[in-house]
Amino acid sequence: MRRWVFGALGIAVLVIWAFPVYWMAVTAFKPGREMFAVPPRLLPANPTLANFGHVLSDGEFWRSAQNSLIVAACTVLAAMAFAFLASLALARFAFRGRRALLVALIVVQMVPHVALVIPIFLTLGPLRLTDALPGLVISYLAFALPFAIWTLRGFVAGVPRDLEEAAMVDGCTRMGAFRRVVLPLIFPGLVATSIYTLILAWNEYLLTYFLISSPEHYTLPLWLTHFITTEGTEYGPLMAGATLIATPVAVFFALVQRHLARGLTAGAVKG
């Protein structure tokens, strides 16, 4: 009896959390007429790819996708370069104020993004970097770096120092030990951190909306939320676009989700 109740509850949870995702995908495959059928059909009677065709033949979609890719790639590259060096410094070298810096890394992540939007906007203004992609990269870095450094630091701290010293005893130089021993061990950490940063840059909305005003600089989130034509909201293409944007995120996310949960709850601020 208990087994059945729990089983039924489990399936209810399954349905509630899967339904919005399912409804997004199913709507994307429905032809226009079925979209407004009352009552709505749980399965499309005549599945079609027309909505995807509509999105893929939209020049604005491709331009936004290109912008998103450029900005995300630049953010990841820059963030990794900074975060890598910073995390090495924080994990391997003792210096004055290290603890304060670690605490600052967490604090900055907690500050509401709304509070950072105005100063970023007014700082980029005189530099002519508002409504421009380089401005986006710089401001995404302000959001992405603390988390990237924090996570990467956990990976570096996980490599035992003895291992490095053993390599040096066996005749490696400091750089050699680093390259042959440490780097391969933290490589998975670099990959995981790059993926977080990628997702963060790909999903950023609040700040982008504030900074970007001309459609040729739209990123995908802006494109999706401006997808309202003169005939009102066309939900078919909208859901097709949403599916296209969310799919790569979901795949990447599934790869690194484990590390994400650990980074947020277990601080690992070892002295």
Partner: protein, 273 residues
């Protein structure tokens, strides 16, 4: 590095003490020092106080609902057959991965007045969910809870697997009921994780933005304005950068207590391991 990260924070505090408007952007005129004028204005600003009340009520509702649902689901996952557990985990990770701007659009479509699936499932005809902001904000709450539960449930489930099986076994042998085991053994063991999750949820839910802004087509009526939205609207539409900064600073200050609490927990957890 500290300079890069700290700079916007310091600047927002400075801005909150200045008169900053369109004139300063277009004419390079230096902003005037406003002393405490922006803050005095907050005290008498009715819209601010109602936004503050709305933010607090929403945060309490969102945190309570997502923690209750998340922990219940984690406990449930322990008690269902393995195939259901695997399926639930898969679906939760999927839901977690959906960006909030996407899930908001999906919920907007599900609650559409004319062809929304929710009206049809509940038999509400052509009910408009957004005329009454209380109903509209309950949709927002649903989006936030839907998105927050996966992280809470999965993290709590991971903590549950750390509960020593021998102790539970021993308690059972001594005749403890399921409820007693839960209260006396399970909850104390996972308590630190629950505390951290609650603190994080408060910090996140207090600053919810996308789920309201996008749901209301980038023009939320006053009945939908939380502190984040209010500050954003003042800056984006009103170009009152000084005043908007002051509102943002107050938001941060209100969160400070929770932040300090979370920070202490995290640091202590790090030292313990």
């Amino acid at each position: 590095m500290a300079a890069v990260l700290g700079f916007p924070l310091v600047r927002v505090v400075v801005l909150s003490f200045q008169d900053w408007g369109l004139a300063q952007i277009f004419t390079d005129r230096a902003p005037e020092f406003a002393a405490g004028r922006n803050y005095r204005r907050i005290v008498t600003d009715r819209a601010f106080w109602s936004a503050l009340r709305r933010t607090v009520v929403l945060t309490v509702a969102m945190v309570a609902l997502s923690m209750a649902a998340g922990v219940s689901i984690a406990l449930l996952m322990e008690r269902v057959p393995a195939w259901i557990r695997r399926a639930v985990t898969f679906v939760l990770v999927l839901a977690w991965a959906v960006p909030s701007f996407v899930s908001t659009q999906v919920f907007a479509w599900m609650t559409d007045q004319n062809a929304g699936v929710l009206n049809s499932l509940l038999g509400l005809g052509r009910h408009n969910w957004y005329i009454d902001s209380a109903q509209g904000l309950s949709v927002t709450t649903a989006i936030v809870v839907w998105g927050a539960v996966p992280f809470i449930a999965i993290t709590t489930y991971a903590a549950l697997t750390q509960v020593p099986a021998e102790i539970v076994e021993a308690a059972r042998v001594d005749g403890a009921t399921g409820w007693q085991v839960l209260r006396r053994i399970t909850l104390p063991v996972i308590r630190p994780v629950l505390v951290i999750l609650t603190a994080l949820s408060v910090i996140w839910d207090f600053q919810v933005f996308n789920q309201i802004w996008i749901l209301r087509n980038a023009a939320p009526a006053p009945g939908y304005q939380t502190l984040s939205i209010y500050s954003y609207v003042k800056a984006y539409q009103g170009h009152e950068y000084g005043y908007a900064s002051a509102v943002a600073v107050v938001t941060v200050l209100l969160l400070l207590v929770v932040m300090v609490f979370y920070l202490r927990r995290i640091v202590r957890a790090g030292e313990g391991s």
